[in-house]
Symmetry: C3
Subunit: 183 residues, 3 copies
């Protein structure tokens, strides 16, 4: 049997005033879960949380997912636009020890192929301890457009920060590790 | 008659030691005004100012244009290079509550099609209250190369930060709003 | 005889725990020196240093190369990934008065043509006094993929920050200056 790598606990954080108040159903968190179902062949479990667009609430949720629940990967959706209630990037930066600007750059470049307003996104990614946090767009369609492409670099990133060795289904995500880092 | 949206007050700030001292004529500010004349079909008025390359002077001018004159959009030109007197990005960041890194990324990517030295530009964009500030290049030709393309996202950005609903001539700028945001 | 510009002192800094301890040979510093040998037609001299992956050590080496040894260009290699021991970007930012985000963006975009994990790089560039500091990737192959392309903007950048006027062999690097800046 092929090696499928190690177990990973992932977190999915939806920041949305309307989804957290029950005004409408969160479709974005489930879209991210759907991606994990298709893409990950390592064992995994996801904890999903929906919080209002408040920086303190998002920070608390991120810290809980990583420091208490043991997530090595947290994917957020929503709250990355220019509006005053959009504070996910601020919360992400506040809880991270370092940022990875390449994620925001590439996600914006990908989304620009579809809509010119991708330029307005403040999406980013960063590291807290042994966890990678990535901000995805809010809309389910835009989520899959971006995560399918950027995820190729995520397994190796998680190796480098001391997390588990995870594997993806190459039919969905052709993840890449330099030769010396492959098992 | 078609809806042409709402009135917008725009600001045009040229930062240049030589233009502000009268050593030569400001051609960049008028190039931006020329763009607005072609692109905007909503009613608009522009206030143009020329200031020396001093961070404090640029900051004061930006604050006056937005907080006193009521601009919801300020476009700057000049002062974004690596030289010591280039301080427009510093002044912009100092007066903004948040930055929109996608603008700088895309403007550099556009200008790189023309000159490799586009990599040296520190152009950015940010939000102060209900106003968007965008740093454009200094040269009139480079101004039009960039603003014609990035402006597609500007009307929706101004919506999102609480400014007026503006419309562009789609023959010049095909501005984009998601379906739910269109009138 | 054609003008070949002015003399430049360059610095090459390899940050690597294993290379600095002698565990293996530094191949990245020599790859950068090889680039200068091919690309520069102005007179030049390079000072090469190898330091451990410690932020304070990298900062001291950068300051010495620029403030004491008189380098107008310092190229670093290594230490730009997401791992905890990767601290070259932090050291670079700490000693620079301003950053040039376009370098990191373009270097990541170039490397993304080869490997998706280029998104993980935190490479940057910045200015200290009359010196430009550029973080290159760690691997010799990736070094040449990026420096050959970005160097086109380096001579003009050094002009703008008050350094010497340098010239490149256009068969290796087609460096660019606006017409008014050419000698």
């Amino acid at each position: 049997m092929a090696d499928v790598g190690e177990f990973i606990q992932v977190g999915i954080l939806t920041s949305s005033d309307r989804a957290s108040s029950g005004e409408y159903e969160d479709l974005s968190g489930p879209a991210i879960r759907g991606f994990f179902e298709e893409a990950l062949i390592s064992e995994w479990d996801a904890i999903s949380v929906v919080v209002e667009d408040e920086q303190a609430a998002i920070e608390s949720a991120l810290i809980d997912l990583i420091d208490v629940q043991g997530c090595n990967l947290v994917v957020t959706t929503g709250g990355t636009g220019p509006a005053q209630r959009d504070v996910t990037p601020e919360a992400t930066e506040a809880v991270c020890s370092r940022m990875l600007p390449g994620f925001g750059e590439q996600m914006r470049a990908i989304s620009l192929r579809y809509v010119p307003t991708a330029i307005l996104s403040r999406q980013s990614a960063g590291i807290r301890g042994q966890a990678l946090i990535i901000n995805l767009p809010g809309a389910p369609k835009a989520i899959r457009e971006t995560i399918d492409e950027i995820f190729a670099a995520v397994p190796y990133c998680i190796d480098l920060i001391g997390g588990p060795y995870i594997e993806t289904d190459s039919a969905v995500v052709e993840s890449f590790r330099p030769k010396h880092a492959r098992r």
